[in-house]
Every structure is written in C-alpha cells, then in structure tokens.
C-alpha cells in the first residue's frame, strides 16, 4: 500500500518514513504543497498524511485543491495546530482525520490502517479466501491453516492482489506497490516475486493474463 507523507521537517519526515516502511507501507515524501499536489496527481495513494505548516503555503490549500479536482484519497492531517477552530477548518476542508503533534506512533498507524480500510470499503484488515488468509495489521499469512513466511516484497504483492481479489492488477500497479520513490525498478522484480509466491503457496493461486497482469480469482 502506497502512502504519501507531506512533511517539511526533514527529521520528522525521515522518522515517519522509517515507521511507515517498517509497518509495510510503500512511502513517498513531499516537502511542499506543490510537490504534494503533483504526487497526488501522478499516483494513486491508499492514504496521505498532511502537515499544515508548509513553506509554500498552507497544507489546507493543497487539500482543498485536491478535493476540488475530485481526489478522494483518505487524508489525515498531522499538525502542531491544536486549536478547535483549526481542527474544524481541517476536517471541513476535506480531511478524514486530524492528529496533533507530538503524536503516538501506534495510534497514528492504527488510524492509517482504519482509514485505508474505510477507503477500500473493507470491514477488517484480515483478507481471506477459503484457503488463504492475509492479516494486514500483523503482516502475517496463513495458507490452508499453516503460517507462511514471506519476504517484504512478496507480502506487498500478495496483499495488493488480495485487496483487489477477483480483479486483475497490472504489473505497473504492483511495481508501484513495491517500490518507494527513490529505488530503481528492476524489470523482472514482479515476475520473481510472483514466482516466489507460487512456490511458497500454490502454483495455481495467482493467475496471469498477458496485457492485464495478475489476479487471485474468487473461488466458490
């Protein structure tokens, strides 16, 4: 799951990046309102964390602009402004949640999960079929009742496929799930990862169609 962090303080930004990556998210960082708007236009994010005091203007303006062009990415405002009027203004501008600095990491991560869940219309962070169960919070996978150990990339790809179960996910979309902004994309990464998943789980779990990508079909 790809998350956008909009934070101009380099230390806090690197801390948040670290924490979110450790929680299994693919994270992009924007330090200005302009960068944030450009990133939101270029990519589909599962969620955005938005600071309000940005050097080139208020994060609120960026949020309003994004909402005006019908961008419905879940947005959590993370700011030092704690007055009620600021919260009201932030939520009214289109934010889904409002967290005041300094925040508690676990609470922030729980809110991130909740809003992604809501954004994807899911009731739970445990995605399951008859044979497979993927717990997005615990980042654990069980196949036919047995826990399976996956690499970070494998988990990200499997989670992406499970979140859109029954639909094809293109190779580019999967690459976006796996790669952070800075890393260089290797052309066969997805193929290697899919191969690993098929080997660890079941050969026929993930189907492929050229031109469409990969899918885990719904099985009755």
């Amino acid at each position: 799951m790809r998350v956008l962090v909009v934070e101009d303080d380099p230390m806090l930004a690197s801390g948040m990046l670290h924490a979110l990556q450790r929680a299994g998210y693919t994270v992009d960082l924007a330090t200005t309102a302009d960068e944030a708007l450009a990133a939101l236009r270029a990519q589909r994010y599962a969620l955005a964390l938005l600071d309000l005091g940005l050097p080139d203007g208020s994060g609120l303006m960026a949020l309003r602009e994004a909402r005006a062009r019908r961008d419905n990415t879940p947005v959590i405002i993370v700011t030092a402004r704690d007055r009620a009027e600021h919260k009201v203004a932030g939520l009214d501008a289109g934010a889904d949640d409002y967290v005041v600095k300094p925040f508690d990491l676990d609470e922030l991560l729980a809110r991130v999960r909740a809003h992604i869940r809501r954004g994807e219309n899911r009731a739970s962070d445990v995605l399951s079929t008859a044979e497979l169960s993927v717990d997005l919070t615990a980042r654990s996978v069980a196949f036919r009742g047995q826990p399976v150990s996956l690499t970070a990339k494998e988990f990200k790809v499997l989670a992406a496929l499970m979140r859109r179960i029954g639909h094809f996910v293109s190779k580019e979309e999967l690459e976006n799930e796996v790669y952070d902004g800075e890393a260089e994309v290797e052309s066969n990464t997805i193929e290697v990862t899919i191969y690993g998943l098929r080997r660890k789980l079941a050969g026929d779990l993930i189907l492929t169609a050229r031109g469409l990508g990969y899918t885990i079909p719904r099985r009755p």
């Binding site: 230390m11 806090l12 801390g15 924490a19 050097p55 030092a80 402004r81 704690d82 600095k101 508690d104």
Partner: protein
Amino acid sequence: MSRARTAPPVSLIAALFGRVGALFCVALVLVAGMAFLIAQRQINAIYDGQLIVGANVLQALMADEIREQAEHPRAAPPLIIEDNLLSAEDRKAFDLYADWRMFRVWRGGQVVLRSDTGPPLVAPPDRDGFSEVQGPHARWRLYTLSLPKVGTALQVGERVDIRHVLIRGVALELLVPFLLFVPALGLLMWWSLRDGLRTLRGLIDELGRRTARDLSPLPLEAWPQDLHPLIASINRLLERIEAAVRNERAFVDNAAHQLRTPLAAVKLQAQLIAGESDPTARQALSAALAEGVDRAAAMTNRLLTLAQLDSRAAQPTTPGDLREETVAAVEDLALMAERHGVALAFRAPRGPFPSGEPMLLRLVASNLIENAIKHSPDGGEVAVSLERSGQRHALKVMDAGPGIPREERSKVSQRFYRGRAAARSGGAGLGLSIAAESLRLLGGVLDFADRPDGRPGLLATAEIPARQPDAA
C-alpha cells in the same frame, strides 16, 4: 503616546458646567445691570415728572397771590413771609417729604417764599427746566418754572439721594429672587448636562462591556453624528488591536508548530528505537533522537531570544565593537560551516568598529552568517566583510546559495516566514527575523540583494549606526 497637558479636566460635565455657568453668570450680570439702568431711568423720569407737576401745583396754589402781584406791581417787593400763603394742609403735605423736598419762590432776585429745607441758594435761577445743585449735605435736583409776566420764578427741588434709595430698594427686591434663581438654574443646568451626556455614558458602557475577544467595530449609525469622529477613531484603534491580536495568535500558532514538530520527531524516534531490534538501526535512530533534542533546544532558544528582543525598549546601550562581535560569530559558526562543507572568509579594514549593544551586534552577525551557511551548497563560500561609510558601518554577508527571489525579500524577515529555499534547509524562519529585530533595536536596516558579481547567491547587508567616539 501620552501628550503633555497643562491641566487635564477633572470631569467633562464639570468643565462644561464651569464654562456654561460662567457665560450664564456674565449674561445674568448684564441683564441685571440693564434692568438696573432701565429702572433708574424710569424712576428718574417719574420723579422728574413729579417735580414738574409739583411746580405747576405750586403755581396753581399761588395763583391768587401771583395775580395780585401782577396787578399791583411794587418796585421793591417786601419779603412776604406769610404762613397763610400756603394752607396748613399744603404745608403738611409738603412736610411729609420735608426732608427730601424743597421749594422756593423768587421774585426780582429775592426769595419771597421758601421751604425750610433745600440748599442755600444765593442767586435766582437763570433758566427754566432742570438743574442740579450741590448742597452742604446732599445734592439737589431742581425744577424751575419762570413766570416772566409777574416777575416770579417757582423752584421745586428734591434730593437726589431719595432716588438712590428707591433704586436700591428695587435692586434689593430683585436680588432675593435672583439669588434663589441662580442655584436653582445651576442645578437644572447640571441635570440637563448629565442628561445630554447620557449617550456618552452609553458609549462608555458599551466599551466597558467589550472583552478582548470582541473587537468588532462599533456601528456608526447607532450613535449621534457628533460622536462619529470619536467612534471612527475607536474603530480604527479596535482594528489595529485586532490586527495585533491576530499577529500574536499567528505567532503563537507558528511557535507551537515549530516547537511541536521537533518534539514529534523526538517522540517518534524514541518509539521507533523501542521497536527496533537491529543494533545498527538503533544507533542511527538514537543519533537522530539526539539531533532532534538539539533542534528543539535551538528552537526554544531562538523563540526566547525573540521574546527578549520584543520586550526590549530602545534604551541606552553599552558600547560594543562590530568587528569583535562578527569575528566571535564566525568562530561560533566555524564548526557548523565545516559540517556543511562551507568555507568562511572574513575581510575588514583595520581599526575598531565602535557601535551599539554587543549582544545585539552578535545576534545580527551570527544569524546572517548562519542563514548564509544553511543555504550554501556543499563547497560554497560565505564571505563576511565589514565596511565603514561615514556615520554607519556595513556588515555584508555573501553566500553562493540560491538567493532570495525579489518578491520574497520583503517577507523573509517576518517571523516564521520560510522561503522556498528554507524548506529544504529545515529552518524555522526565525533567524532572519531575529537579525532584523536586533538591527531595528540598534537603529540599523537590513537589505538583501543579488550578488554584485552576477553569480547565484545572496548579499545581505546590515547597516548599523556607528557610535561616535565622544558619545561614549
């Protein structure tokens, strides 16, 4: 803001009352004076009329005698002092006013008949009508009626002071109601002044009810027109206060943001350390944590510096030397420049640069140099130089950074304003405002320009008044 006034009025009503009362008293005195004069004239007219009547009555009373005299003129008329010339009643009537009145009957230069009263007269009157004569005890007003046919002149007179007595009586009678009237009128005036100033008290109450949060302007149409200038200036004041409050609130918000963000980073790092098992990663996170604490401390110091500068009034300062303080600032920042890979250069003509408060000089120099270091690219140079030009010293700091766009230059010394370049350096937007504030207290000005050699970079010039050697 206090303007020196010789004697501030104790109370508006008292002041108004004093003025109106004084005018009123002047008017009253004038009216009373006029009334007195008119009364005097009337009394004079009436009494003069009575003198004329008196003379005619005397002529009528003496008609027989006079006629007889005319029919039998004598060469030398004998003194006729006969009591029967006037009847007893006539005498009595005269005696009622005996002290005040007199009469004489002259014939051929001799007094033939006279009352006991009156001034001693030696010569008969030479003309008809009124005249005044000073007697031994009093002044007399006389009316002379000549009867040339019979060679007789009748003279009737009256003491002038009886008129004064009468006029005094009239004035005294007027004085009593006048004395009652004045305080009653004063009370009425006081009351109506208070009533008239009720709107003003309404304004006072309205303003008294205001709280610091309610700074909305007063509605002009709710007050009488005379108060509009006052209301308008109160509104202008309210506007200024509101702007100041808004500024203050923005400052507090920004300060909160700038303090909470490093604290949030510190807390986050601490929580990440707790969840990290890898020792190398833990070490990196611990280093980041320590850095975060340093940054929060630096931010607190800057905010405190600004707060101190704020509360500082322009006061007589201890003399300092711009060169000493600039060199000290360069020394302080040498390590930071080293870490940023920035070279520092200093150039100044020989001799001291006497100037103002050393602490302020140091703040100007260190904040300008620190800003330049932060925005310099790796391998860049920050050139610090001092110049003397007449009454002022110039501290110039030139860097090779991205510079400040022309349209941002006026804003960069505002608190918490961060240019686009500052976003990358992670500055809080306080350094330049501390420099500007310190300069303001020193009486100097801060100016930003492009590098004169045309290369990218910023030239910041602080002009600081030089201290005159004799002013030490």
